[in-house]
């Protein structure tokens, strides 16, 4: 009797486990299928344009909807440059914020500050854009750009007329939008580093600064992941960027010049794109954006993987 009952329960348990296993597998696979489907749909939607332009789509720099000539190089350039520059600005700041919140700040200060940082992440991008137009851009035009061209004007990066609107404004606004994402995730990661690590370091006579460095080292791969999430947001950001970047497909070394990003082009031009070829070219642009995102994520995964292997052997 007793034995039978136990067996029944374990059978039942097995069935439950089985359902659970298959169900979660289904969910996991469906994400994968969704990505494949998206890729396929974009490929088939852009077939017309791929057949006509092929690889020249990536290296040609004329985007002319009237003559139906589509080359995306300046747009790809604008996307990549604005995102990476934003990351360069945002990364040290975010890590600084995270270290302060996780390691230095007393609890009465940490709680409200963390809340504020998370609030910053929740602000809709159109609000960043409006703030950009009315506050950031006038400030850049009247103070930042004249100052930069005065002091650093010998460099090609700081030449040209100070419009305010342009790559610099986009980079700054993107940095601001990426900052709360990276810093709030990094703070959580730092907090998850075991307390014993800090205690051990302090016991060995390390200063607070040295302890923080040790904690940061432990959290390296997590911080990298947070950075990639931030980069993903920067690459895909549409509204705020298009409101301040000047929207011109142009390759110029100067940060003062207008530029354009892929997400902005698609958002701007999709509704009024009437011809098949035009639509197809816009979808191809989406495909390129999709592939670039995949490549960046894959590289980040590789980096994390190689780093964690190094630690295991060390």
């Amino acid at each position: 009797m007793e034995k039978q009952r136990i067996k029944k329960i374990s059978d039942l348990g097995n069935i439950g486990d089985l359902i659970f296993e298959k169900l979660t597998l289904l969910f996991a696979v469906s994400v994968f299928l969704l990505v494949l489907l998206m890729g396929y749909e974009m490929y088939s939607g852009s077939k017309l344009s791929i057949d006509k332009f092929g690889w020249s789509f990536l290296v040609n720099s004329t985007w002319d909807p009237v003559l139906e000539i589509y080359g995306a190089l300046p747009i790809i350039y604008g996307t990549v440059v604005s995102s990476f520059l934003a990351l360069i600005f945002a990364l040290p700041l975010s890590i600084g914020v995270a270290v302060f919140l996780a390691e230095v700040a007393p609890p009465w200060l940490e709680k409200p500050l963390s809340f504020l940082v998370e609030l910053l992440a929740g602000i809709p991008s159109v609000i960043y854009g409006l703030w950009g137009i009315f506050v950031l851009v006038p400030w850049i035009r009247s103070d930042v750009e004249p100052f930069l061209s005065d002091k650093l004007g010998f460099l090609p990066f700081f030449r040209g007329a100070p419009y305010g609107f342009g790559l610099l404004a986009a980079v700054l606004i993107l940095a601001l939008m990426v900052l709360p994402i990276i810093s709030s995730i990094t703070r959580d990661i730092l907090k998850s580093v075991p307390r014993s690590q800090r205690e051990a370091a302090l016991a060995l006579g390390a200063t607070r600064w040295q302890t923080s460095l040790i904690v940061l080292k432990d959290a390296k791969s997590g911080i990298l992941g947070a950075t990639m999430l931030g980069l993903g947001r920067a690459i895909g950001e549409t509204m705020a960027v298009t409101m301040v970047i000047g929207n011109r497909a142009l390759i110029s070394p100067s940060l003062f010049d207008p530029s354009y990003t892929m997400a902005s082009v698609i958002a701007n031009e999709f509704t009024e794109a009437t011809s098949e070829m035009y639509l197809s070219a816009l979808i191809q642009l989406a495909l390129v954006l999709f592939v670039i995102t995949i490549i960046i994520n894959a590289l980040a995964q590789l980096l994390v993987w190689s780093m964690s292997r190094k630690w295991k052997t060390a």
């Binding site: 006038p138 419009y163 000047g246 929207n247 207008p258 701007n268 009024e272 794109a273 009437t274």
Partner: protein
């Protein structure tokens, strides 16, 4: 193609849910520029007759696509469909589509020059500014048009729309007519490869650029400029007069163009004849199937169109649109009377 089926399916479910309510409902989609007056019209008309219109302002391109796919009862566009699009629609839907002008819009050239009012411009100078050939405000060509103004030695900052728009279409259609250079180098369209300048999203984006940047020049819809009190230039028309953009001078342009209008009313009225005509203006159209399958819907739509041509026009000015001149209304009514349901005339 799969995407289109999904969109079609969504619209189908929407129209099925609408069938559940006994009211007659017509679905439309298209241009954003006339959306304000359309929703006013649909609202008024529903109160009068109980017929419900559901209009989605998804842009002219979207309107043309939906009409071609047959997912809506009518469409709306700021730029007329071209011959190729008409042929595609006919082969897919088995019927022609009529362009019915509803109201007029105009595009004004806004500028930001502190202390300077009453700027005059003509077509070729405007084209040269937007081509990047005229780069300074005290250029001889601008001075010649404004002998009384003290124009500054400042660079011109050009602002244009970055999103695809009927406003850009009307503006570049005008530049194409008045400048050979513009025609060969840039052309006309809803989105363009602009030779110079900064792009702003929407009328407010361009207006923002112009307001903030000293020495800038851009183009916005007349309605937007009037509502926001932006200063704009008087344009020299075909007859040689400098005309301020007002609802009357825009209607005058349509009147001037009415004499030689083609029967299908697909016509650009930029650079129109007539001594009071404002040169940068255009129609916005409803796209209606010439032969509809649903008799109840066809009857309702025809009645609505007739109402819009009559009483409906009186709402235009209050909402900052220029009403159609009488001569054009007559042409529209003639075309509306040719609409059929399953080949039969509508009473």
């Amino acid at each position: 193609m799969k995407l289109k089926t999904i969109i079609a399916a969504v619209f189908l479910t929407l129209s099925i849910t609408s069938l559940v309510s006994a009211q007659l409902q017509l679905n439309g989609a298209g241009a954003t520029f006339p959306a304000v007056i359309y929703s006013k019209w649909f609202d008024e008309y529903k109160n009068m007759t109980g017929v419900q219109f559901n209009y989605q302002a998804i842009g002219s391109g979207g309107g043309i696509k939906q009409v071609t796919e047959g997912t809506v009862d009518f469409g709306a566009t700021d730029g007329p469909m071209n011959d190729q699009q008409l042929a595609e629609l006919k082969s897919k839907r088995g019927t022609d589509v009529l362009h019915i002008p509803t109201v007029l819009g105009a595009v004004v050239v806004a500028y930001n020059l502190p202390g300077i009012n009453g700027l005059n411009l003509d077509g070729s100078t405007l084209a040269d500014i937007f081509l990047g050939k005229v780069t300074k405000w005290n250029d001889a060509s601008i001075k010649k048009l404004n002998p009384k103004l003290n124009l500054p030695d400042k660079y011109i900052v050009v602002a244009h729309r970055s999103d695809g728009s009927g406003t850009s279409f009307i503006f570049t259609d005008y530049l194409t007519k008045v400048s050979k250079d513009w025609e060969s180098k840039v052309g006309k369209g809803t989105s363009l490869n602009w030779p110079v300048g900064l792009g702003g999203k929407g009328n407010d984006g361009v207006a923002g650029l112009v307001k903030q940047t000293e020495g800038s020049v851009g183009y916005v819809e007349l309605a937007y400029a009037v509502k926001n009190k932006i200063s704009y230039a008087d344009m020299k028309n075909k007859a040689g007069n400098f005309v301020e953009a007002t609802f009357t001078s825009v209607s005058a342009a349509a009147e001037g163009a009415a004499k030689n209008m083609p029967a299908d009313l697909r016509v650009s009225i930029t650079d129109a004849d007539g001594k009071n005509s404002y040169p940068i203006s255009g129609f916005t159209w409803l796209l209606v199937y010439k032969n509809m399958k649903d008799e109840a819907k066809a009857g309702a739509l025809v009645k609505f169109l007739k109402w819009a041509m009559g009483k409906g026009q009186s709402f235009a000015m209050d909402l900052y649109y220029a009403p159609l001149p009488k001569a054009v209304v007559k042409l529209c009514e003639k075309n509306i009377s040719t609409i059929t349901a399953n080949g039969k005339k509508i009473k």
